[in-house]
Symmetry: C2
């Protein structure tokens, strides 16, 4: 006889899932341990049995989410394809990823800004330093053709990333200012358009920029 309550075995995952949802929705300070327990369908004491404190539970969730987001970003830039192709792939995959996780950007940015010590968790995964080096050596020719110097990278990288992340982070602001974007499906369609828009925009600007 299989009951669907606790004793299912996978209690820990259920907790983790519930915590992810609640934290993403309400942030650290807004989340309530009781609500997490409720959503996981368990007792609050059991919550503390698996994750001793709210802080511990939060850190576990935060770390996983942060990793998910960054792995997506970096993995593509390590593939063995052209610079141009990397940018198109990044825009495609990252936007698709965030369509599936629309609350993630604001959550991460907000928590990061609210708690300095969280930045430390990020430092572990500074592949970026190497990635930046790697990009520059691996795509030397392409970059030279575009007249991109090492010094230009920060502006370009931030621009690229903002193309995909910003609309999700600012979604509820945009909703109001551009009413068309209030509807979910329309917003997603808008973001899918944006893949091509951003890529074209970027390459056009790069091709003709002053050097």
């Amino acid at each position: 006889m299989s009951k669907s309550g606790p004793t299912d075995g996978h209690t820990q995952e259920k907790i983790f899932l519930a915590a992810t949802e609640i934290f993403e929705e309400k942030g650290y300070t807004g989340a309530r341990m009781q609500e997490i327990a409720d959503r996981a369908g368990i007792n609050k004491a059991l919550l503390h049995y698996y994750f001793r404190t709210k802080d511990q539970l939060f850190m576990a969730v935060f770390h996983v989410l942060l990793k998910k987001m960054f792995e997506k970003i970096f993995s593509i830039f390590q593939e063995d394809i052209s610079f141009k192709e990397k940018i198109r792939r990044y825009l495609d995959e990252h936007i698709e990823f965030m369509i599936k996780n629309p609350k993630l950007p604001i959550f991460l940015l907000n928590e990061l800004s609210r708690n300095d010590s969280l930045a430390e968790s990020l430092k572990e995964m500074i592949i970026y330093q190497q990635v930046r080096e790697m990009i520059y050596t691996k795509h030397a020719k392409e970059l030279k053709a575009y007249g991109i110097k090492k010094n230009d990278m920060p502006q370009l990288m931030v621009t690229l990333v903002s193309f995909s992340i910003f609309p999700f982070a600012a979604r509820d602001m945009l909703k109001i200012v551009i009413p068309e974007l209030a509807d979910n499906k329309k917003f997603n369609a808008y973001m899918r358009e944006r893949k091509e828009f951003a890529a074209d925009f970027l390459f056009t600007a790069l091709k003709h920029r002053k050097k």
Copy 2:
């Protein structure tokens, strides 16, 4: 004899100022009425005397901050200058504004995403609908020269706005990924560079884009 405690007269402003700081720092759920009272140098009961509830106080602060940000954005677009000039002025003034209020973007975006009803306060100031119309009729020639159709505006507008807002909103993430930006003065210098970078980038892309 002038004492510097309460009875200064401007108690209400002191409260408002303190509340602004605390809310910006910690967000609605993270802010504590006691802490606001402390920072204002008054009693907690007095806080409730001027603003009956936390919600009322928050709404007052939120509304003012939201207005500040949007007025900055829209006022420029209503001036009687060329389209190109408007974009340059926007980037200049908005970035300078946020250098003075670096925590504002994340605060607004986060609160907006956490509480749907806040969007209502924004709807009052939907000048945007008119502004968009206005831009399109007033700058018809310039836009036509760039091949910008009405339909392109959402992508372009979001792109423009993200140039200035995103780096501030994502600041603590960027800090880690691009260590140069950790230092305050360097970050501000980076953002001042960005004014020109963004304008050039935009106009170059517009000038040569496929139509």
